[in-house]
Amino acid sequence: MVRIQLSTSASARLLLLARVWISLVVCMTAGGVRAHAADAEELARLIDTQIETRLASEGIRPAQPAEDAEFLRRIHLDLHGTVPSRERARQFLTDTTSDKRARLIESLLADARYGQHLADLWQGYLISPLADDATKRGDLLRKWLADQFNAKPWNEIATALLTATGKIEDNPAVTYLIEGRLPRTVPDLTDLASRYLLGVRLNCAQCHDHPFVNFKQEEFWGMAAFFTQIQTPKRAKQVYEKGVVDDPTLTLATLRDAAAIDGFMPRPPTFLGGKALPADAKATPNRVVLAEWLTTPGNPWFARAMVNRTWWRLMGRAIVQPVDDMHEANAPSHPQLLELLTRRFTESGFDLKFLTRAIVSSRAYQRTSRPTEPGEVADKQAALFGRMAIKVLSAGQLYDSLETVCGPATKVTGIDARQGTRWEFTQFFGDSGDPEPTAYRRGIPHLLRQMNSGQFAGRNLDGLVSRLSAADAKSPEATVSELFLAILSRPPSDSELRQAKSYLERVGPPNSGLRELAWVLLMTSEFSLNH
């Protein structure tokens, strides 16, 4: 594998190197997925060696492998953002071949829904909840992101985002640069880029040197200076008419209303870590130079940040917690693992599917989340990735899972659907920012709506129940099993089957009973969680 070190020489050379690199990557990916799959398999084993060595050194046994049903539901939620359909669940659970997990992983990664789920997450990160008319523009961005994640490596996606110019309809990547009628502010963009692309929280240093971390106020403003060339038209309409354009004459010193910005400090563009902008890079738009610096394989932040974030979202806990607060004083729980994944992710040409494939193929990912050890040992087992974390379905996962189970949403009274049903739903059930994947954050308002609105009750359930009972005349046991399979992606336990049967007898008319039972299953903790 060719390695390119971050060179201190001219940016032209850097650009050339980057091009060589990209063409190499293109050759590699075109070369064959098979080699990649083997590499991912190898990396999965290395992950397990790291995790299990550490567990052994602390005298802790890892949990058992997850049952097929647990794995099936988990991998669908993590890679496609929804529970599997009843048909897919049945197919997988009755498959007796030994490589069925690996084949499922491949097929999920190859499906367009993989990119759509990542797009859903990244749209949430990139578009501020304060942005105007988030639906229409958000949808354009979401579609663009989905295509990117399905086909492109992370360095190309990040570059396209960082350097985006033009009008929204021509290049949806610019969407996040324009907040409704206003361009996003320079400090805001600096914070966004540093948290999501570098995995660091520079914003604490906007107004003063970071109290706990080695970030200086001048470093924040040095990075901020890369974003000043984005033109900020005075009137809202111009943002849409002209789109995003770089104006090389704009600097921090010419920033409008700069005096009103907290901690303002006019610094020249300076990369995080202290390196100044090369003199001959002045002709290139600053954002392009920043993207080149960022995605050079030797950059100490870029790959690490994405590795940590990917691990976080799949395993429920990051190697460095919080996920976007990576700095010297905040030690990783598994430093060698982080180093290994960062190196391999970089060598793969920032291939996110490769990284994801490796993680979900590991024994660590495929363990049960069921604790068998008591109290403190169980906590430690979880903290060392010896047992899978139980994650909470995001608003998007909840909505898409409901659609998988019940079919497309019907119009519902009492819900403000002016903005589009999915958008409205995710606004209502969602969290802004980066909620911890394991934190349950819904209260009375959410549960009232979940229990009593037509989205989870009423007509939506009729469709599900009639599909189940129309299939053919089955025994009550078989129908209950199908219902469990449709909603919880697993057959019922003996006790559950008994309870369900006696419930149906108590209710009387089978379809009413099944509808009531479906509601109960949709309300369970199990449905709201990814265990």
Partner: protein, 443 residues
């Protein structure tokens, strides 16, 4: 989240096999005896009402600034307000007009966020809670089945959030007070709901015993609290039909009979004249039921954002607002609740002194808010703007000054710190990084 508490309540409820009636049938206790804890009703004027056309009239200014409205005397000699608040003018002895509001944001969303959370939105890692959630956490009572923070009318969702305070303080939203709260009744018959919840209880207990998950506990405890609300008598607070017709009319005409705006003034689909008054009435009922913080939103759609047709719009909005606000204050007073209930009237900013094309644009440098009741020293004006209402010349009030004062009136220590998960520093209720100047003349 309090996992231990949740775990305990979950286990006692399931292990002891508490009967359905025992679990579901409990009526929430009435408000406790003794000194009444304070409540707050925030009347949110979405869009930003002009200070000059409401509570800081400028009769001396040139016509294009003064505008079309006259100033009238109030019950407090020397304090004058817009002629379109005649009912409220008679209640001025209970109120303080803060004419020195001077804030930093003049975009709707950013300003709405700033005024609600006290912090400027920088898309940072910290998700700040809304004032209602902060107060709800400090003043909420466990024995009240209703959520501690309720919003009425279609509000600015991104600013009406519990942020890092989590699900317990998440606001419950009543979109349309006339229709009531949508999801407080089960979709099917009560008997069916009860047996479904019983089965759910069993399934969840089995899952919990296998997986021991804190998230599952919180999910189940949220269900318990929601069911408790559904079975409480206090949910009647959402049902305005329980209120005598005479009282309902005092708060504002029913939506159908409401005054229509002047011909040629387009009102967008979201706006329903009349529902603000009914929202104020619901707020009073919720205060009686023990809810510490209620926000009533006026001006869904364009609302007070009068870039065009400023005068006919502001006239209609003022009249509706005046009727509702005066009825609320009078009603609270007659029930002995005014001293323990602080009513706050404010928007996200104000509008330009200068009229252009029949409208006024955004203006955050100088504006007014109003505080009523809550035990404050009423009948006064704090702060002063210049002749044209363009800048504050006396007693400027920042967002933190304002929110710290509101907290202090409510008996909440604004310097108290929350420790949000994942944030390496404690965060005080109100931003104290700059010196806070409390409005001590009100206390």
């Amino acid at each position: 989240m309090q996992p231990n508490l949740n775990r305990r309540s979950f286990l006692t409820a399931t292990a002891a096999g508490v009967s359905l009636n025992g679990w579901l049938g409990q009526l929430a206790a009435a408000a406790p005896a003794g000194q009444r804890p304070k409540s707050c009703i925030l009347l949110w004027m979405a869009g930003g009402p002009s200070h000059i056309d409401t509570f800081d009239p400028k009769p001396e200014a040139p016509a294009d600034i003064r505008g079309e409205f006259q100033a009238i005397e109030t019950s407090v000699p020397g304090i004058r307000i817009s002629e379109h608040f005649p009912r409220f003018a008679k209640l001025m002895q209970h109120a303080a007009i803060l004419r020195g509001m001077s804030t930093l944001e003049s975009d709707h969303k950013l300003a709405t966020y700033h005024l609600h959370t006290g912090y400027q939105n920088r898309a940072g890692a910290v998700s700040f809670p809304s004032l209602g959630a902060l107060v709800a956490k400090e003043l909420g009572q466990r024995e009240v089945a209703l959520p501690n923070f309720i919003t009425i009318g279609r509000g600015p969702q991104e600013a009406l959030t519990s942020g890092f305070l989590g699900p317990e303080q998440q606001p419950l939203t009543v979109n349309d007070p006339v229709r009531g709260f949508d999801f407080v009744e089960p979709a099917g018959p009560a008997e069916q709901f009860a047996r479904q919840v019983e089965l759910l209880q069993g399934f969840d207990a089995a899952f919990h015993s296998r997986y021991q998950s804190a998230a599952a506990e919180t999910h189940h405890s949220s269900i318990e609290r929601a069911v408790r609300l559904m079975n409480s008598r206090q949910k009647e607070a959402f049902d305005l039909s329980k209120e005598p017709a005479g009282i309902r009319e005092q708060y504002g005409p029913p939506a159908t009979a409401a005054a229509r705006p002047a011909p040629g003034v387009k009102i967008s689909a979201g706006e329903r004249p009349g529902s603000f008054g009914q929202g104020c009435l619901m707020a009073r009922r919720l205060v009686e039921a023990g809810v510490p913080f209620i926000e009533v939103v006026m001006g869904d759609g364009v609302g007070w954002d009068t870039h065009r047709d400023n005068f006919p719009r502001v006239r209609a909005l003022s009249q509706e607002c005046d009727m509702a606000m005066a009825a609320l204050v009078t009603d609270l007073k007659s029930r002995g609740l005014l001293d323990s209930t602080l009513v706050v009237w404010m928007g996200e900013f104000s509008r330009t002194p200068q009229c252009t094309g029949g409208g006024r644009n955004h203006w955050s440098r100088a504006w007014s808010s109003v505080l009523i009741g809550g035990g404050i020293k009423g009948g006064q004006v704090v702060g002063k703007t210049d002749r044209d209402g363009a800048s504050v010349v006396e007693r400027p009030i920042s967002v933190p000054d304002f929110l710290a004062t509101v907290c202090t009136i409510l008996g909440v220590d604004y310097k108290r710190k929350n420790r949000p998960p994942g944030v390496p520093r404690p965060i005080s209720l109100v931003d104290t990084t700059r010196e806070i100047k409390l409005l001590t003349e009100l206390l």
